[in-house]
C-alpha cells in the first residue's frame, strides 16, 4: 500500500485533525509520514506558532505510535512547495484539509484543495472536518458507485483506516430504482436488491475481505448526496470515505455534483480520496 504519506499542516485545527487520519493510516500501512507546514509570505508570528505547535503535537503522537516521521517547515507558495516535496520524496498520498469556506465556493474554484486534487501527481485525501472530537470511528461509511476506478487503491485506503481505528465498514451503494414508463418505480426488497449489486462493488468487498475488514453492504435508492448524509446521520457514523467526483465541469453544472453536496452537508468528518492519476 502507501509507503510515504504526506500530511499538510497549517494553523487551523482542521488540518491537525486531518493529519491525525494520516498518522493512523501511516501506522496501519507502516509508512513513513512527512508532516509539512508551508508558511505563506506575510504570515504573522502567532499564526506561525500555532502551526508549529500543531506540528509538534502531531510529531509526538506519531512517535508515540512508532511511526517513521519527518517534519518539514518551508516558506513560500504551499502548492508549489508541497508539489516539490511530493516529487522529491516520491510521496504516495497527500492528506490535506478543506475549510468550510472552500465548500461554499462552487466547484471549489480557486481553492488550495482543488489545486491539490487536480494537479498533484500522487493520491490525495481531502479531509473535511466538521467535528473536532468525539471518538474514533466505530463504523466507516463508504459510498460506492456501480462503476468504479482504482478499486484496489480505494479498498486499501478504506481497509487501512478501518484497521487503524478498528472500525467496521458499510459499503453504501445508491442505485437508480428500476422504473417503467407506465409502472413507475418498481420496489425491490433488500434481498432482491442484493442480486443487482454491480461487479465493481463485489470486487471492492472482496478486497476488504482480503484485508480482513468486517463490512456490510447496503443498497438504497434516492438522491445521492442526500441519501449519504441521511444514512450517516441515521447510523451515527463518525467518518465517511468517498471517491472524488469524476464528473466533468459541464455535467456538474447541469446535474450537480454529489461529492460537493456531501462536503457541504456532511454530519460527520469526510475524506474524499482522489487516487493517483493513471498518466503522469
Amino acid at each position: 500500500m502507501y509507503k510515504r504519506i504526506l500530511a499538510a499542516v497549517n494553523e487551523f485545527t482542521n488540518s491537525e485533525i486531518a493529519a491525525k487520519y494520516a498518522v493512523f493510516l501511516a501506522k496501519s500501512c507502516r509508512a513513513k509520514l512527512l508532516l509539512v507546514f508551508v508558511a505563506e509570505d506575510k504570515l504573522d508570528k502567532s499564526t506561525f506558532r500555532r502551526a508549529e505547535s500543531a506540528l509538534e503535537r502531531l510529531f509526538i503522537e506519531a512517535e508515540d505510535n512508532d511511526i517513521d516521521i519527518e517534519s518539514i517547515t518551508e516558506k513560500g507558495d504551499p502548492f508549489k512547495k508541497i508539489s516539490e516535496i511530493v516529487r522529491r520524496n516520491s510521496i504516495d498520498i497527500v492528506f490535506t484539509a478543506t475549510r468550510r469556506g472552500d465548500t461554499e465556493k462552487g466547484f471549489f474554484a480557486k481553492t488550495l484543495a482543488r489545486e491539490f486534487m487536480v494537479k498533484l501527481m500522487c493520491s490525495v485525501a481531502m479531509v473535511r472536518v466538521v467535528r473536532m472530537s468525539r471518538g474514533y470511528p466505530g463504523n466507516i461509511l463508504v459510498p460506492v458507485r456501480g462503476r468504479m476506478t482504482h478499486i484496489e487503491e480505494k479498498a486499501g485506503f478504506v481497509a487501512g483506516l478501518a484497521e487503524a481505528f478498528n472500525s467496521s465498514v458499510t459499503l453504501f451503494h445508491l442505485s437508480d430504482p428500476i422504473t417503467g414508463f407506465f409502472h413507475g418505480e418498481i420496489h425491490l426488497k433488500p434481498a432482491e436488491r442484493e442480486e443487482h449489486i454491480p461487479k465493481d462493488i463485489v470486487q471492492f468487498a472482496d478486497f476488504l475481505h482480503r484485508y480482513k475488514v468486517y463490512h456490510e453492504k447496503k443498497i438504497a435508492y434516492g438522491a445521492v448526496s442526500r441519501s449519504i448524509t441521511i444514512e450517516a446521520a441515521h447510523k451515527r457514523n463518525d467518518l465517511i470515505v468517498m471517491g472524488a467526483s469524476e464528473r466533468s465541469l459541464l455535467k456538474s453544472i447541469v446535474s450537480g455534483n454529489p461529492v460537493e453536496q456531501v462536503l457541504r452537508e456532511t454530519p460527520c468528518n469526510l475524506i474524499v480520496l482522489r487516487p493517483r492519476p493513471q498518466h503522469p
Binding site: 487551523f12 469556506g101 472536518v129 467535528r131 414508463f181 407506465f182 441515521h234
Partner: protein
C-alpha cells in the same frame, strides 16, 4: 480514544483548549472553521421549483403542445375559435398544476420549533474570563458554564460538576432529571454520564464542560438533519396519479396521431385533421380528474377532522387507506395513561388493592406515601401519573401522614429509583423492631428513615433484609427467588411493577450509606388500563390485514400481558428488547419483523426510525405514532407520521402528517377506514369521469370517418370536464364507507388506480351508451332541422349550434344516470339507498343549472358555441340516462351472482 473516557487534561488536549478556555482569537478562527452553532435546514428543492415541475411532466407537456398547435392554427386560420381553445388548454394546465401542488404542499415548520429549544446566550470561559456570548458563537473547544435553568448550547464533555442534573427529554423522550458528573466513563457514548447534549436543560446543580460538537454535528443537530432531510417519497396515490396520467396522455397522443394519419389517408385537409387531432387529444384527457381528486381529498380531511384526526398533507388522507403496518406507542395510545395501583405483593402474597388495609399493607404503602412527589390538592391527585397512583392508594388506605422530608435523590433513568430521607414522628410501624432499632427510633420520640422505590433490578441489590410478617429477615437466594416470582406474577398481569425498600438511619449520611443494607418491603403493581375501544380497533386492524406493532418503554412481560389483553397477540410473539435490538443487524431485525406478532419492549424513540426504515424497505406502507422531539425523524420517515395532539411536543406535531386530537389508537383505525373509503371513492368518480370521455371522443371519430359536421367542439368538452362533471364527481367522493371496506386486506402495491376492470367499465360499457345518446341527440336535431347527409354546415349556422348543444346536453343527461351507477361497483344503488348521499342531488342540481346557463343564456351560448334547444330534445335523451342506469344495475347483479 473516546471523549467520554478521557481524563480532564486529555479532554483539553484532544480539543486543543485549556483550563482557561480558548483565546478570543482562537475562538474567532474556529468560528470561521466550523461555522455558527446553529440548526440549519438541509438544502431542499425550493418551493417554486416544485411548483414549476407541475408544468413539465408528461401530461403537461402534451397539453403545452396542444396549446401551441392551437395558437399556430389560429395564426393560419383565424376566427375558428382556436385562440380560445389554446387559452383554455393553458388554463387546464394551470388548474391541474395548482391543484396537484396543493395536494403535495406541506408546511415545514419542525425546524423552527427545534431551534427554539436552543439557548440565545451562554456563559463561556475565554482567556480565563467568564462572559455571556451568543449561543450561536460557541465553538468546539469552548468551555461553557452551566447552572440551574440553563439550556445546553452544544454537545460538551463535563470537566467539573456539582450536583448537576439535566433533563434530556428532547433526546430521550424521558422527562426525569438525570445526574451528570465529570468523571471519565469507559462505556458507550450515549450512556455516558459526563456528556451534556445540546437542546437539553440543566434542572439543578452546576458544571463546566468543554464543547466538542456544535450546530448540525451535535446529537440535536442530527435530529434536525434527519427531520428536515428525510423525504418519505411519493405517496401511493401520487405514484398512481403519475402512472395514470402517463397512460392517459399516451393513449390520447396515440389516438390523436393515429386518426390524424387516417384523416390524411381518406383525403381530409391538413387543418381539418389538425382540429381533429387536438380535439380527440383534449377529449381523451380527463381535465377535471386532478382538481376533483384534490377537492375530494380536502373533503376527506374535513371528515377525518370530525373523527379527531387532523390531516396536514392532503395525500395522507389516501395513504392511510393503504397502510399495511401501524407501529404504535403503548402508554396513552393503546392505554388510557390513567395509572392505578392494582396489586400489592407483600409477605409472599398478592393482595388486590381493594382489600389492602393498614393491617396487611401499611408498611409498603407508607413508603409509597412518603417517597413520592405527588400531592392531593383541590380534591385531585396531582403529579406524575405513576406517583399520583401510588399516593392515592396510600392515602386512601392510611389517611394523611406527616413527616419532615430531609433529603431527596430524585428518580433518574440510569438509577431507575428514587430515594427520600424523612424524620418520622411517631415511629413508623414498618416491622416489629429489633431492640436496637426500636430504641433508636423511640429515644427521640421518632427517627430518621430512608425510603426507596424503583425498578426491582435496581432496588433489590440494595437490600440486605426483607420484611416478612413484621420480622426483618436476612436476604437470601430463596427470598430473592420469591421476590422474582412475585415480580413475574404481577408483570404477567400487565402491571408495571415497582419495588419498595426502607432503612432506619441515625442522621445525615452519604448516598451510598442511605441506600445500602436496606429492608425490602414489597412490590406494587400499577395498571394502566387499555382504552376500552382499543380491543375492537385491534380486531378491525386484524380483519383489515393491517399488522400492529407495539413499541414501548415498558418491560417485555408487561408489554406482552397488555398485548394479550387487547388482543394484539395470540400465541407466542417475538419480543425484542432494547439491548437486543441494538445488537441486531438489519437482516436479523428484518427477520424478526417478518413474524406475525412482534413486540418491541424497553425501547426508546430513537429506535423507531430503524424499524420504520426496514419495514419500508420491505415494501410495507408504514404508519408510526410519536410524541417526543426525537420521534420527529421516524415521523418524517414513515409513510404516515402520526403525532399525539394531547401529549405530543410541537416538534412531533410539525413533523407529522396527522395529529390525533385524542391520542387514541382507535382514531387511527377510523382514519384508515376513511382513507380506504376515499380510495374507493376516487376509483368511483374516475369511472364516472372517464365514462364521459367516450361521448366526447366518438363525435370526433364520426367527424373524421363519416364526413359529418363536428358534433361537439373542444370548448364544449371542457365545459363537461371542468364544469358540469365536477360537482357530481365530488359528491361521489363523499360516499360513505361500504360495509366491507375494513374486511379486506390493504390494496397491493401492484394494484393500479386505473385498473383493467375500471377502464373496461367506463370506456367499453358506460361510455358507449353515453356516446350513443349524444350522437342520437345530434342527428335528431339535424334531421328535424332539415339537414341531409353529406351537407356541411357553417360553424355559426343555428342548426349546427343547436345540434352540438343537443350532443352536449346528451352527455350531461346521461351523466346524471351515470352518477348513480358509479356510486358503487357491485352493490345496487337501490340497496345502498338512492337518497343516502344527499350531496349527489346537490351535484346534479348544480350540473343542470350550469347546463341551463350554457344552453339558454346568451353568455353561455357565446362562450360555448351553443344555441337554445326545445324541451323535446331533453325529453328524448332521458331514456338513455335511465337505460344506462338499468344496464348498469343488470351488470352489477350479474357481477354479484358471479361472486356468489
Amino acid at each position: 480514544m473516546k471523549i467520554q473516557s478521557l481524563p480532564k487534561e486529555d479532554v483539553f488536549k484532544s480539543l486543543l483548549t485549556s483550563e482557561a478556555g480558548l483565546t478570543e482569537e482562537e475562538a474567532r478562527g474556529r468560528l470561521h472553521e466550523y461555522g455558527l452553532n446553529e440548526i440549519k435546514e438541509v438544502r431542499k428543492k425550493p418551493l417554486y421549483l416544485k411548483f414549476i415541475s407541475q408544468f413539465t411532466h408528461f401530461l403537461a407537456i402534451l397539453l403545452w403542445i396542444a396549446a401551441f398547435l392551437s395558437f399556430l392554427s389560429e395564426y393560419h386560420h383565424p376566427g375558428e375559435g382556436m385562440l380560445t381553445l389554446g387559452a383554455a388548454i393553458i388554463a387546464v394546465i394551470f388548474i391541474n398544476a395548482v391543484f396537484t401542488f396543493i395536494q403535495e404542499y406541506r408546511a415545514e415548520k419542525a425546524l423552527e420549533v427545534l431551534k427554539k429549544l436552543l439557548p440565545f446566550y451562554v456563559k463561556t470561559l475565554r482567556d480565563g474570563r467568564e462572559d455571556d456570548i451568543h449561543a450561536e458563537e460557541v465553538v468546539p473547544g469552548d468551555i461553557i458554564l452551566l447552572t440551574e435553568g440553563d439550556k445546553v448550547p452544544a454537545d460538551a464533555r463535563l470537566i467539573e460538576s456539582s450536583g448537576l442534573k439535566v433533563n434530556n427529554a428532547p433526546l430521550t423522550g424521558e422527562s426525569y432529571p438525570i445526574s451528570r458528573s465529570h468523571d471519565p466513563f469507559d462505556g458507550e457514548f450515549f450512556e455516558s454520564f459526563n456528556i451534556v447534549f445540546a437542546g437539553t436543560t440543566v434542572v439543578s446543580g452546576s458544571g463546566r464542560a468543554v464543547v466538542f460538537s456544535t450546530g448540525m454535528t451535535t446529537e440535536f443537530g442530527r435530529i434536525a438533519h434527519l427531520t428536515s432531510g428525510v423525504e418519505p417519497g411519493l405517496s401511493p396515490l401520487q405514484k398512481e396519479i403519475i402512472k395514470a396520467t402517463r397512460l392517459l396522455a399516451t393513449i390520447a397522443a396515440a389516438v390523436g396521431i393515429f386518426f390524424f394519419s387516417m384523416g390524411f389517408l381518406i383525403g381530409r385537409s391538413f387543418w381539418e385533421n389538425f382540429i381533429f387531432a387536438i380535439g380527440i387529444t383534449v377529449a381523451l384527457i380527463p381535465e377535471g380528474m386532478l382538481p376533483t381528486m384534490t377537492l375530494s381529498l380536502a373533503i376527506g380531511s374535513q371528515r377525518m377532522a370530525k373523527r379527531k384526526a387532523l390531516i396536514k398533507t392532503l395525500t395522507s388522507v389516501e395513504t392511510l387507506g393503504a397502510v399495511t403496518v401501524i407501529c404504535t406507542d403503548k402508554t396513552g395510545t393503546l392505554t388510557q395513561n390513567k395509572m392505578a395501583v392494582a396489586r400489592i405483593w407483600v409477605n409472599n402474597q398478592v393482595i388486590d388493592t381493594k382489600y389492602a388495609s393498614k393491617e396487611n399493607a401499611a408498611g409498603i404503602l407508607r413508603i409509597a406515601y412518603f417517597c413520592n412527589n405527588a400531592r392531593f390538592l383541590d380534591g385531585q391527585y396531582k403529579g406524575d401519573p405513576t406517583e399520583a397512583a401510588l399516593f392515592k392508594a396510600a392515602r386512601e388506605t392510611l389517611g394523611d401522614l406527616h413527616a419532615e422530608r430531609i433529603k431527596e435523590i430524585p428518580f433518574d433513568s440510569e438509577r431507575k429509583r428514587m430515594t427520600t430521607v424523612h424524620a418520622v414522628f411517631p415511629a413508623p410501624a414498618l416491622e416489629k423492631r429489633s431492640p436496637a432499632a426500636f430504641s433508636l427510633l423511640e429515644a427521640g420520640g421518632g427517627g430518621v428513615v430512608t425510603f426507596t422505590k424503583g425498578a426491582t433490578e435496581n432496588v433489590l441489590p440494595l437490600c440486605a433484609y426483607m420484611a416478612i410478617n413484621g420480622e426483618r429477615v436476612s436476604m437470601n437466594d430463596n427470598l430473592k427467588r420469591k421476590i422474582t416470582n412475585g415480580y413475574h406474577a404481577l408483570t404477567d398481569m400487565g402491571l408495571r411493577v415497582l419495588s419498595f425498600a426502607y432503612k432506619e438511619i441515625e442522621g445525615p449520611s452519604p448516598p451510598e450509606d442511605i441506600e445500602s443494607d436496606m429492608v425490602f418491603a414489597g412490590l406494587i403493581g400499577i395498571e394502566d388500563p387499555p382504552r376500552p375501544e382499543v380491543p375492537e380497533a385491534i380486531r378491525r386492524c386484524s380483519e383489515a390485514g393491517i399488522k400492529v406493532i407495539m413499541i414501548t418503554g415498558d418491560g417485555s412481560r408487561t408489554a406482552l400481558a397488555i398485548a394479550r389483553e387487547i388482543g394484539l397477540v395470540k400465541g407466542n410473539p417475538v419480543v425484542v428488547e432494547g439491548r437486543e435490538f441494538n445488537a441486531m443487524t438489519d437482516d436479523q431485525l428484518r427477520e424478526s419483523l417478518s413474524f406475525e406478532d412482534v413486540i418491541f419492549a424497553r425501547m426508546t424513540p430513537k429506535h423507531k426510525m430503524r424499524i420504520v426504515s426496514i419495514l419500508r424497505d420491505e415494501g410495507e406502507i408504514v404508519a408510526v405514532t410519536g410524541d417526543g422531539v426525537n420521534d420527529a425523524p421516524a415521523l418524517k420517515k414513515a409513510d404516515i407520521g402520526i403525532a399525539m395532539g394531547i401529549s405530543g411536543t410541537d416538534v412531533a406535531k410539525e413533523a407529522s402528517d396527522i395529529v390525533l386530537l385524542d391520542d387514541n389508537f382507535a382514531t387511527i383505525v377510523n382514519a384508515v377506514e376513511e382513507g380506504r373509503t376515499i380510495y374507493e371513492n376516487i376509483k368511483k368518480f374516475i369511472t364516472y369521469i372517464f365514462a364521459s370521455n367516450i361521448p366526447e371522443a366518438v363525435p370526433y371519430l364520426a367527424y373524421i370517418l363519416f364526413r359529418i359536421p363536428l358534433p361537439l367542439t373542444v370548448i364544449q368538452i371542457l365545459a363537461v370536464d371542468l364544469g358540469t362533471d365536477m360537482l357530481p364527481a365530488l359528491a361521489i367522493g363523499a360516499e360513505k364507507p361500504t360495509p366491507g371496506v375494513m374486511k379486506q386486506p390493504p390494496r397491493k402495491l401492484k394494484e393500479r388506480l386505473l385498473d383493467f376492470p375500471l377502464i373496461v367499465r367506463s370506456y367499453l360499457f358506460l361510455g358507449p351508451i353515453e356516446a350513443a345518446a349524444c350522437m342520437f341527440g345530434f342527428f335528431y336535431v339535424l334531421y328535424y332541422g332539415g339537414w341531409a347527409w353529406g351537407e356541411m354546415l357553417l360553424p355559426e349556422d343555428l342548426l349546427y349550434l343547436q345540434a352540438t348543444t343537443a350532443c352536449l346536453t346528451a352527455i350531461v343527461i346521461t351523466q346524471i344516470g351515470n352518477v348513480f351507477a358509479c356510486r358503487s361497483s357491485r352493490e345496487s344503488v337501490f340497496r345502498i339507498g338512492v337518497f343516502s348521499n344527499k350531496l349527489i342531488f346537490w351535484g346534479i342540481l348544480i350540473e343542470l343549472l350550469l347546463q341551463l346557463f350554457i344552453v339558454y343564456h346568451p353568455s353561455g351560448n357565446r362562450l360555448f358555441g351553443t344555441a337554445p334547444v326545445g324541451l323535446n330534445v331533453w325529453l328524448i335523451l332521458i331514456p338513455f340516462s335511465a337505460g344506462l342506469l338499468l344496464a348498469e344495475e343488470m351488470r352489477k347483479a350479474r357481477a354479484r351472482r358471479r361472486r356468489g
